[in-house]
């Protein structure tokens, strides 16, 4: 799956590429408006990560052109502006998602995966990890075809870890993901333990092996 990353800050670009390539995406990059336009016109991508402020133009112009050409590439806007107005403006232009800087790479990865899934399978898809099946449309989880009753937070937690499978996901990233966009996040992540404990218990009792590993104080890793 091909991803185009449009970002003018080289270091940030590099870290995004590094993380996404480890997820087996093919990443192409463009660090200015002109290069980005050439690539968008010439190729199709599964997902475009679009920085709004580019040295020679506004990313939103690219988005508008993309939509005018009726291209179906998924677009995630990456912006430093975090007000609701900016978000709504971006989404109204046809973006699939809106991510505010600074962001967690695990969050970026989860969103990219979600966008690609939605585009590829037109919203009908499931994630399978051995006996574990996550239905993304019905938002249900089954183990050996038996449904597991998860709360909304537990489901989101599992999906987030599954989207970043075999990666260390920090507790802070999980806390922010669960709290939602723009929510005030506290440094106290104790509430994650509760959700994690319950999730592990439910998966375990449904007969799924405990493959969510806790990594010291940093976070968790979903191993497949």
């Amino acid at each position: 799956m091909k991803i185009l990353i449009i970002e003018d800050q080289q270091e940030l670009l590099k870290s995004m590429v590094a993380y996404l390539e480890s997820e087996n995406y093919i990443c192409e990059t463009a660090s200015n408006f002109r290069a980005a336009r050439n690539k968008i016109e010439g190729f199709d991508y599964d997902c475009i990560l679009l920085d709004v402020t580019l040295p020679d133009g506004n990313g939103l112009t690219l988005l508008a052109e993309l939509k005018k050409d009726k291209k179906t590439d998924g677009v995630i806007i990456i912006s430093a502006k975090d007000s609701i107005g900016d978000r709504i403006h971006g989404l109204n232009l046809g973006a699939d998602d809106y991510l505010v800087k600074p962001f967690h790479l695990s969050e970026l990865n989860a969103r990219v995966a979600a966008v690609i899934r939605r585009r590829r399978f037109e919203g009908q898809n499931i994630l399978v990890f051995n006996d574990l099946v996550i239905d993304l449309v019905a938002k249900t989880v089954c183990i050996q075809d038996k449904p597991v009753d998860l709360t909304r937070k537990e489901y989101e937690l599992l999906l987030y870890l599954a989207s970043n499978k075999n990666k260390v996901v920090s507790r802070m990233a999980i806390a922010e993901h669960l709290s939602g966009d723009g929510a005030e996040v506290f440094d106290n992540f104790d509430f994650i333990y509760t959700h994690m404990k319950n999730l592990k218990k439910k998966l375990g009792s449904a007969g799924y092996p405990d493959n969510i590993r806790s990594l010291y104080a940093i976070g968790y890793k979903f191993e497949v």
Binding site: E11, F103, E184, D187, G219
Partner: protein
């Protein structure tokens, strides 16, 4: 004054209680009151003195007599009676006090005193006897009247001076007070134009100029500072995002020891805090730059409920008892983002500084929202808590900007923000100004 004057013609031999005092005729007038004395002196220099010292030879006796009498007549106006007779023998000057019966009051035994001076003068060899009399009754009254008139005059003069002074100073200080009034309405954040009152007074022209320069300079500095904060915050965002990304990539390296993991964890936490701080500073600058102008209709109660719901994890973790009293569902005309930040910050504070097992109370009325919570059993200082970077407690989670942002948003919409400590609860109340929302 002249009303009390009696004009008497007396016989030269008639004076009673006669008391002879030697000396010059006019010298004796010093016994009279100062007004009379003045008049006498004037008369003396105009007529008497001249007559006595330089008698005019060959003057018609009759005509002199008349003009002299007329001269003496001036004394009458000053409050005296006088008489002039032809005399056959020269007698020494005499001054005496006489009494006249009040004939018009039969039962009255009192007599009015008067004082007379009599002397003989020689004009062209002809002797005349001059008698000048003055009533003593009137003296005290006269003194009173004079004092009264003087006092009234003085009073009029003083009021006049004060009045003129007032009018003139009002006129002179008008540009000054105009300027003062205009300056009170000046707001550096808005940089509204100050109208300098026109004036021709050089000091005020100078004052106007100095103030004008001062304002221009101040506004420039203010803009520079604002720009700096905004640029600095903006520039910081990218490196923060980069650090964030690198830290996450570092996490994925293996093998990862526990010591490394702890270091990475702390690095991430500090970076997050820095990012939050930066976001808050940027937000403050944006509010000051009025970048949040479009106002929409906001359902305060709905928004509050949504924000509380998103904090449920934290409420549950601390076992905080939540009480929501929504008496009304006010609709506000404000910017959604700002309103969310305002309410969100207050709720976040109420959770952050709460004690485990404490309570959180949210009360919404038609024109106010009140958020109160348990916490330290000590009132915060209301003057300081809304200033930037003021921290009452060393809570690791607190940036010290939350309440400053709340205050700034309240100021923007002219909401009043109050803090009070009541019945063990820290309470923040935002009173909505309906004219601006």
């Amino acid at each position: 004054m002249p009303s009390a004057i009696s004009l008497r013609y007396r016989h030269e031999t008639s004076p009673q209680n006669h008391k002879d005092i030697p000396g010059l005729f006019f010298c004796h007038l010093t016994d009279y009151n100062p007004v009379i004395l003045c008049s006498c002196a004037a008369c003396a220099s105009a007529f008497g003195g001249q007559v006595l010292k330089n008698p005019v030879k060959g003057y018609q006796e009759q005509s002199f007599f008349h003009s002299f009498k007329a001269g003496i007549g001036h004394l009458v106006r000053a409050g005296q009676g006088h008489s002039l007779y032809s005399a056959t023998t020269a007698a020494p000057d005499s001054i005496y006090t006489g009494y006249i019966e009040k004939s018009w009051h039969k039962n009255e035994t009192d007599k009015d005193p008067y004082r007379e001076i009599a002397g003989t003068i020689s004009v062209n060899g002809q002797l005349y006897k001059l008698v000048i009399s003055s009533s003593l009754v009137e003296n005290e009254d006269l003194l009173g009247s004079i004092m009264l008139v003087q006092a009234i005059l003085l009073l009029l003069l003083m009021t006049g001076i004060l009045w003129i002074n007032r009018i003139s100073s009002k006129k002179i200080w008008k540009p000054f007070y105009g300027l003062l009034n205009n300056m009170q309405q000046y707001d550096l954040k808005k940089n509204n134009e100050i109208a300098f009152p026109e004036t021709r007074i050089s000091e005020f022209i100078e004052l106007n100029q100095v103030i004008k320069n001062l304002l221009v300079k101040n506004y420039e500095i203010y803009l520079q500072q604002k720009e700096f904060t905004e640029n600095a915050s903006h520039e910081m965002q990218t490196p923060l995002a980069i650090i964030q990304g690198q830290v996450e990539l570092l996490m994925q390296t293996s093998p990862l020891t526990e010591a490394q993991a702890n270091l990475i964890s702390e690095l991430e936490a500090s970076n997050k805090k820095l990012a939050r701080l930066n976001k808050s500073l940027l937000l403050l600058t944006r509010i000051e730059n009025n970048e949040y102008s479009p106002a929409e209709s906001v359902d305060l109660a709905g928004m509050t409920r949504k924000l509380v719901d998103s904090s449920h994890d934290f409420l549950d973790k601390k076992e905080i008892r939540l009480t929501e009293i929504f008496e009304a569902r006010p609709q506000l005309k404000v910017n959604v983002s700002l309103m969310e930040i305002l309410i969100g910050n207050l709720i976040a504070n109420a959770i952050r500084h709460n004690i485990p097992g404490g309570q959180l109370r949210i009360e919404i009325k038609e024109n106010s929202i009140e958020i109160s919570n348990t916490g330290r059993q000590k009132a915060l200082s209301p003057e300081k808590i809304f200033t930037r970077f003021y921290k009452e407690s060393s809570h690791p989670d607190s940036t010290g900007l939350g309440l400053a942002i709340v205050k700034r948003i309240c100021d923007l919409y002219a909401f009043s923000l109050q803090y009070f400590f009541k019945e063990g609860l820290h309470c923040f109340r935002v009173t909505i100004n309906r004219t601006s929302a």
